[in-house]
Symmetry: C2
Subunit: 309 residues, 2 copies
């Protein structure tokens, strides 16, 4: 079975939306990526760090999805990374209420021996130096390295971010961040600039407005599934990344044409994530539901205009 190495936060989140408020619940980029990627026939592992306050049941959940958690360090004297935020009424924007780095502050990632030759590596949103440390431990060149990042690192670690960008194949980034990183308002121009920084493929996530995949002059677009209600957007981008990388790990084909399918799988899985608070929808999601909604994606986007060549 092909292997996917996932690096990212495993965390506690406290989320407030117009629909309600959670207690401290399971969160973190790597958690969402792992749960999403577990819908594919692959071996995956998470490299992360938690504190002694992190319940065994959460690790059991990940293990039950066939995710190797031996790369999740448990710091005995430490507390797990905590984020809390409040979404505005339109659910498109949010305020961060609290961020406690805790054990993340001194995180030194250790890649399990068994995953040093992974087929695909997903570098979730973290300090670029941590992402680089992971790449330095690999003993074989992966088929594909995918990186997610955010404006925070552009503001405080841009040089380090530019270093890691030279070593990856795909960047996933949201529209505002793509504009910030490139200095271009047009997303087509932004992708052009980001290409020159290293990544052959640029994925720009537009939330409810879908996602774009660029390779040079080629572009592919996947809409977000139009939903009656978005309940909680937390983790949607990471769930997208998990579907994208999970599918590519399984199919072992990193052509642009197959990446289109991966974008659809990612969008499909993300459409479930936002239906309930936190990870709860993803914990229950079954494969029949996944396939059913893929059918909806086909109905949503496919048409039959025949063009004479």
């Amino acid at each position: 079975m092909n292997k996917l190495l996932i690096v990212g936060t495993v965390a506690f989140d406290e989320i407030e939306t117009p629909f309600g408020k959670t207690d401290k619940i399971l969160g973190g980029a790597a958690t969402y990526i792992g749960l999403s990627a577990s819908h594919f026939n692959i071996k995956s592992a998470i490299v992360s760090v938690v504190g002694n306050d992190f319940p065994q049941e959460h690790l059991d959940l990940l293990n039950s999805r066939n995710i190797d958690t031996t790369g999740i360090e448990v710091v005995k004297e430490g507390k797990t990374f905590f984020w809390s935020g409040r979404y505005h009424n339109d659910l498109n924007s949010r305020d961060t209420l609290d961020t406690q780095l805790n054990v993340l502050a001194d995180f030194n990632p250790i890649v399990p021996e068994d995953f040093k030759e992974s087929d695909v590596v997903m570098l979730g949103n973290l300090h670029p130096n941590i992402q680089i440390k992971v790449l330095d431990q690999l003993t074989a060149k992966p088929k594909l390295i995918v990186l997610d990042t955010m404006n925070f690192w552009m503001n405080c670690a841009l040089d380090e971010l530019k270093e890691v960008l030279k070593r990856i194949d795909v960047i996933t980034i949201n529209d505002e961040e793509a504009r910030q990183l490139s200095g271009e308002y047009s997303l087509v121009k932004a992708a052009e600039v980001i290409h020159t920084m290293g990544p052959k493929y640029v994925v720009i996530k537009k939330g409810e407005h879908g996602a774009l995949l660029f390779e040079d002059k080629d572009v592919f677009f996947a809409p977000a599934l139009p939903l009656k209600e978005v309940f909680d957007p937390t983790g949607a981008g990471d769930t997208f990344a998990g579907g994208f990388t999970g599918y590519l790990t399984q199919s072992s084909n990193v052509s642009f044409r197959n990446m289109k399918n991966a974008i659809i799988y990612g969008s499909n899985l993300a459409s479930f994530c936002v239906e309930e608070f936190g990870t709860s929808r993803m914990e229950k999601l079954n494969d029949k539901e996944v396939v059913g909604r893929l059918q909806q994606f086909k109905m949503l986007t496919q048409f039959d205009i025949e063009l004479k060549q």
Copy 2:
């Protein structure tokens, strides 16, 4: 040849964007609809009104595109409808600087005899009472009646708008207007509410974020083509409507499945419209360019995930 009846403004526009400023140039919903629909093998006519200040060359342009202009009344003592606006830097929003109704204030639409049995009727954005007057002159039920409207009429003529909504098949409306008309934020819910007001099909235009087509539970989505530069968005929605109705008039098939293709044709034509000020790109556009970009739309949206039934 099948017939398309177009009702809407033929006007002067003065447009300011971050890229520059025009003089008084040719504009108006019916103008854009007509130019766009002229890319199909159909007979079309415009019902509108202009003043004695309207140059013959503009009418000649429409005639050269095989558009019947006998339904464009020329008021000898009047001046043509004038709109001027300034777009903001993101080109997604604009301020209206001036609106002079002029001859539009007393417009009494007269449908040419030859178009009273049109296959498709496109009611461009106008006072709902004018749209109703046009429907009252038809002597045969069209295959399809499409209506475009805007928030202005929701604010000042909502009852009349609701009357005309009962008599049409398709409404095209932008996202904010759909929310205002329905009182629902979610576009899926908004479309449900608008369905109950009459239209079997609801098209929600999201500008650079594409367009959605709803029929009951079925949804189709077409992205806007990602462009390096949007130069002037004026007329994009009308150009979309012209492509949508022009294609449906030509193909004479108003199934949901074929309407998907019509949405793509509309999006395709609109993607040209925004490339230059006013109507100038649409005046030069040739069929080879149209087909070339349709190919781009296929590349942009089509994927090949096979699902077992």
